[in-house]
Symmetry: C2
């Protein structure tokens, strides 16, 4: 896809609009600009919106996140479908660095509210990806809302793997920042671009959806493609060394993408999709910071500097869970790296895409900081859930973690030319 | 300043530590690295920590902010002074891209907690600046805490201009994110670097200070040096076009830097300093987004695209408040640009350094977004306060703004070689 003939970057729009304003003296006179004047430099920062899978899953992880979950506030299927169509147009445009509609911030006339809120004017696409997911409640009753009716007549199309996550040990889930009917994951290298995208989708959806919760993140914790350095989490450790990578297509087919055989005919709209698990994990960083280096490394199962598995030399060495020292395993039985490893989880893997967060202070003199964990997997109940049950009960790191938000969304496959988000679910 | 002989970038430390780890197999063996191995590429991203004025005031505005206000929880002057000395060492090191202490994340031994929390290992200095300020309560009674004793024996050294801001019309100040005894403004191009800095200062201060509130910001709203593009605020307008610039040294001397004559001998420690006003301004963006373009531009007094004053052509044209159209002033009497202009404020100007914020959802389906306003001025009560009284009563934009946090801090001058933060206040 990239930039087509209708593609004019926000930068180009702005320049042309500015020139228009000179003529008029006051704004509103803008409108005429060359459709061929796309800023070629922005092409480099554009991730294609359409394809077999949605962008933002195996895409090289951008540095900033704005994640939003919406409640659908209408009971009208037509209104919901209409919004999804308008969202698709706006989303595709924004990922190309354009306003939500052509000339949206300026050119609709003095006496119309601007269709685009404007704060991304002049900014590049910043590798923006927008990824949509549907929550269990959209289809009717769910664990978090058992009385919910099937408002949109899609209950029969709900895939078996789409349900609220179960309760895990040692978590304090806050419903006001958990669950949701629809999620949007906006990733970009510029937070203002990601925030602008979510805000404008929320605005387009007024009367149809309402923001239930949202979360900003920075300093990603996982590499999703080879060659990306492994970033560090708020514990100071490299996080995501053993992540599934975009290049591991066989692993992706096995562990991430939903296959035809996974669902009955009514839920085939999910084939090529995946499930997104979101968990807001507050880190108890002050006690962590009082733990000595040896204890920190024992808990993680890796060294802090290099990130090597304990007993090995380099970050990407395979951990050896059998080597011992003085009769005890060098990688502790309670080490995070051991308990999360595929060998300990019947081969299950997940594609992680987490971001660090710091949301001010908690009112007790501590920073409210941690990890906004995002993972994609083919079936959350066969991959994430068993792994998390094991971690929440045995992982020594649990002492320092307070998961306080939780969600599971069905992420449909990518949209092909001419399609809109959710088309195969609703038609 | 810059990088001296003791300067080893985090990147270099990490590489060397990694090599050390290879030898030991497990971490803790690190320590030996060449002191001359500083990463020269990081020099370009270093802002000098020492000088006549603190960095982070006229420094070209970095893209990300972590601002923190601390309560001092000790009554011991010695403990407070000791912490300020340790803060100064750590702050200077971090602005050079180093850990808080040499080898702090790795080299202190297996059985000591790491002195540095480690999440900035491998990251560049990212133009980090750390700017300290002292609140009224540090000196004894203040408007927000009238019963506070003068715990540190510095009440007589309090400058007359250091007091809590008065109440303004149409604000909803929340004490839990206002005021504070000490503030740290951390600005950097990488949020993880800014967050790491505040976190490590908080950690060094355990038992002496406690985080009262903190705020993250992105996408700065003001240019502080010529040549920086004017960014846009969450209303979609360029914000800070007419800001005071670092190059305007005469204006800075007149409007920003505290002069000797401003204070009696007991408060001369503030000469060369300035006052920092912080205001968290929630923007009511959903109603704003329903206002038509003409109304938005009338409220601001500038065009949305170019940012030109109404009736003029270019962003940097001087506004003309006298030109009329059909007998009415083209720039409305209630326009923000008119009411904030020096001509309407007895010539008073302020140096702005605001950042946009988005802090999740407000629980009512709206994004909690707005402007974290920071301004520096020579006397908040002669500059910011009269201007804000006028704006809060007359500015048409007030309808869309909910200021909910407020603070005023005395920012001492820069530290010279060998000095520590607050030295001239406490000795």
């Amino acid at each position: 896809m990239g930039t087509g003939e209708s593609s004019v970057s926000r930068r180009a729009v702005l320049g042309a609009a500015g020139a228009g304003l000179v003529v008029g003296g006051v704004a509103g006179a803008a409108g005429g600009y060359g459709a061929g004047s796309a800023d070629s430099s922005s092409d480099d920062q554009t991730v294609p919106f359409r394809g077999d899978h949605q962008a933002g899953i195996t895409t090289a992880a951008q540095d900033r996140l704005h994640f939003a979950a919406f409640d659908v506030v209408t009971d009208s299927r037509d209104e919901l479908v209409d919004m999804l169509k308008r969202w698709t147009v706006a989303a595709e445009r924004m990922t190309r660095g354009e306003e939500t509609v052509e000339d949206g911030a300026l050119g609709l006339g003095d006496y119309a509210p601007p269709a685009d809120t404007g704060e991304a004017l002049g900014l590049s696409p910043a590798h923006l990806t927008l990824t949509i997911g549907f929550g269990p409640g959209l289809f009717g009753p769910s664990a978090s809302d058992p009385g919910r009716p099937d408002r949109f007549g899609i209950g029969a199309r709900k895939p078996a793997a789409l349900a609220d996550l179960p309760a895990f040990a040692a978590e304090k889930i806050e419903p006001s920042r958990s669950f949701g009917d629809i999620c949007i994951q906006a990733c970009a290298d510029d937070p203002q671009v990601a925030v602008h995208a979510v805000r404008n989708l929320a605005r387009i959806g007024v009367g149809v959806v309402s923001v239930r919760w949202s979360q900003l993140g920075f300093g990603r914790t996982s590499s999703t493609t080879r060659g990306q350095d492994t970033p560090r989490n708020m514990f100071g450790f490299k996080d995501g060394t053993a992540n599934v990578r975009a290049e591991d297509t066989a692993v992706l087919d096995e562990q991430v993408w939903v296959a035809e055989k996974d669902n009955p005919p009514a839920a085939q709209w999910m084939t090529g999709g995946t499930y997104l698990v979101a968990r807001r994990i507050r880190m108890d960083i002050e006690p962590w910071d009082r733990a000595n280096l040896k204890e920190q490394e024992t808990i993680v199962g890796r060294t802090k500097g290099e990130g090597a598995p304990i007993g090995k030399e380099s970050e990407f060495d395979e951990p050896d869970f059998n080597i011992t020292s003085y009769g005890a395993p060098m990688i502790a039985r309670t080490a995070h790296v051991r308990l999360a490893h595929p060998d300990q989880n019947n081969g299950a893997q997940i594609l992680r895409r987490g971001y660090n967060f710091t949301d001010g202070s908690d009112g007790f003199g501590h920073l409210d900081a941690g990890l906004f964990f995002i993972a994609f997997n083919r079936d959350s109940f066969k991959q994430f859930v068993p792994m998390q049950h094991q971690l929440s009960r045995k992982d020594a790191m649990t002492e320092y973690l307070i998961p306080n938000a939780s969600a599971n969304f069905a992420v449909p496959p990518g949209v092909q030319d001419g399609e809109w988000w959710g088309q195969h679910l609703f038609s």
